[in-house]
Amino acid sequence: MIALEKRPTPSRAWSAAAPLLAVALTMVAGAALFAALGTDPLAAIRTIFWDPLFNEQFASYSRPQLLVKAGPLILIAIGLSLGFRAGVWNIGAEGQYIMGAICGAGVALALYPMDAWFVFPTMVLAGALGGWAWAMIPAILKTRFRTNEILVSLLLVYVAEQILASMSLGLMRNPEGGGFPGSRNLQQYPAAANPELVAGTGMHWGVVAGFVAVIAAYILLNRHMLGFQIRLAGQSPRAARFAGVDPNRLVMICLGISGALAGLAGMFEVAGPAGQISIDFNVGYGFTAIIVAFLGRLHPVGILLAGLLMALTYIGGELAQFMLGLPAAAIQAFQGMLLFFLLGLDVLSNFRVRLGRRKVT
């Protein structure tokens, strides 16, 4: 029979090889799915994984778009990963993303049409504060009343969505928009816009912030006392208490950081690629980022790579849809399969597969 034996330390070789193997297996399984749907499986796989990066017709546009799509995912996932390591479950990053966007855009719309250097920095601050404040609700309820943060943060997503709808229909509605919902387009308000920093690269301030967050998280986790406390609290809450870690403080810090980063992501998105507050502004980055955080094994560099991979399947999936006429549902199922393989094969980095009889210990 097959048995799994825990490795004393994770295998470096398998840590790198497992994701590659997972992608390869997904291609095989995906090909079967696409063939069953009557699409040329090879063309489908090539369109999803190859064309966004290397197709002459699309790549020069699609490649920078990877960053646009991955930026918010990485930024949010980095924040979430700190909490997840410490055992603080913020499932409501989507809501914090929305509130960050509303606060950031709110500053811009209040100052419109003022042309001053401080408009954009104030928006950044407001965005981070908005996300932070929204995450403080579950944090305070948790530390003061022991209310479960999973439930509060999750339900607050729906509350944030109602606020978003209310804002796009009321307070923030574009006065020159003929009564239609949605705010002014911030892309057309230079002092508040978050444009591409270098044309054709997809780099905007949100992507920069994502990279900065990766580096900062890496340093925090490896070189800083707080990082040590976070890791300790996750591995052994009792030991952490003996080591003098205040669990309430950790909850506030972890939820605060993840909320602020999610808020920043929302603010950069509304001022840049999305451009405006609208009823359907949020597209699920906050939930996808949870997957990204775990795909990246809660490690900053892993999250960076996982974010880029997710972005690739989104963009490749879009191409496959209209080039090959695949339904969006097929792409969704395919993404699910990819995640299954990635998560399942992760076992290889932590365990050794033994064939034959189990060793008696």
């Binding site: 002459e56 017709q57 699309f58 020069s60 546009y61 699609s62 778009q65 646009v68 799509k69 109602q162 709808a165 209310s166 229909l169 009321g170 003929g178 009564g179 239609f180 919902p181 949605g182 387009n185 892309q187 054709g200 998105e269 840049g272 690629p273 999305a274 451009g275 405006q276 609208s278 009823i279 359907d280 502004f281 597209v283 963009i315 879009e318 191409l319 849809q321 209209f322 080039m323 006429g325 339904p327 969006a328 549902a329």
Partner: protein, 359 residues
């Protein structure tokens, strides 16, 4: 590598200033961007029916491509750009939220034509189109006013936007014209799509005495709730919902984009396409009234058909004065008809409706 992609990439090398479609090609490529899944049975479903009609009409001369469930905003802009890069000649963007992305992408691809549904911003290569659904609402209102015995009409609205408010007003004006005692109860569902919530809303309205339910949401959930309650009339929305005929569904408003789509594709093929603003109703066939079933007494049916005919021929405008706003201030004088600008941005109730529009 074929010639087209080679040239397209050369075009790209010059920045996105030129489009890949400048090259002659035999097939006309038409793209569609949908906000929901084509299986939503409502708004997107009907747009996709229009796409299929284009394919059926032109056969091999036209190739259509589409993408469903495209979020409004950044994702839409990318999808549009990729479609333009893939060589589309004409792209229909079928949701209001695609307005700014459509204009942004259109500016980069001057040789690609864009048609944006329900928006108000145009450019040399961006036209807009929408349907005068309120004409259908007027006919519904007339039938509702005649049919109701409790004098309470329930209305399931989505979000308080001009399109929806226009529908409520049009229905109310024509219901109260034939039944001055009528009362409208409006529930704002605050969602485009949540069948379960629509079912709850319909049930709540029926429980509070409504015996006619009008809906501005796309699912058949209210029809099923009405069927369960019995003796409640409903109208199909977006699609015919004929599976609930003859009762509770007594008629419907159907979005019929096919004639317009075929017409615009033909214009691109002929080289006669020009940016314009189309707002068609029953007359042009963009809004269809589904069969009025026998559950409606014959004389009411005849009146409804006459009203439909008068609107179609242009003899009658559903917003004809005298009409006052909700607060009693005059809006339209005797015989005056509403101008399109006011209708497009409509954010007020007409006199007689109770409650406030959420702001």
């Amino acid at each position: 590598m074929n010639r087209r992609t080679l040239l397209a990439s050369a075009a790209l090398a010059f920045g996105l200033g030129m489009s890949g479609t400048a090259i002659a090609q035999d097939k006309t490529k038409v793209g569609f961007v949908f906000v929901g899944p084509i299986g939503d049975g409502g708004w997107t479903y009907e747009h996709n029916e229009g796409r299929l009609a284009v394919e059926a009409h032109f056969g091999d001369a036209v190739e259509t491509i589409y993408q469903e469930s495209v979020p409004e905003g950044a994702d839409a802009e990318r999808v549009l750009t990729q479609m333009a890069l893939s060589g589309a000649d004409l792209i229909f963007t079928t949701s209001f939220g695609y307005m700014d992305p459509t204009l942004n992408v259109a500016a980069k691809f001057p040789n690609v034509k864009f048609e944006h549904a329900t928006g108000y911003k145009r450019a040399d290569n961006v036209g807009t189109y929408s349907a005068r659904f309120y004409e259908g609402r007027a006919v519904q209102g007339h039938i509702a006013g005649k049919l109701t015995k409790s004098n309470i009409v329930g209305y399931i609205a989505s979000y308080p936007i001009p399109e929806v408010i226009r529908g409520i007003n049009a229905a109310y004006i024509h219901a109260s014209k034939v039944n001055p005692d009528i009362q409208f109860k409006v529930i704002w569902a605050y969602t485009w799509f949540d069948p379960a919530k629509e079912a709850d809303a319909a049930t709540a309205l029926i429980e509070q005495g409504a015996d006619v339910i009008l809906q501005h949401t796309d699912s058949t959930a209210p029809q099923a709730a009405a069927e369960k309650a019995g003796n409640v009339y409903t109208f199909g929305q977006a699609s015919d919902m004929a599976e609930y005929a003859p009762m509770p569904r007594v008629s419907s408003i159907i979005d019929n984009w096919a004639p317009y789509y075929i017409d615009r594709v033909q214009a691109v093929i002929d080289g006669t396409w020009e940016s314009d603003d189309t707002w068609d109703g029953i007359g042009a066939g963009m809004v269809k009234i589904g069969e009025i079933t026998d559950a409606v007494p014959a004389e009411i049916k005849a009146e409804a058909l006459a009203l439909q005919e008068a609107i179609a021929s242009g003899a009658y405008h559903p917003f004809t004065g005298p009409l006052n706003r909700q607060d009693g201030t005059p809006w339209l004088a005797e015989g005056e008809t509403a101008d399109d600008g006011t209708l497009l941005g409509m954010n007020f109730y007409v006199e007689g409706l109770s409650g406030e529009i959420p702001q």
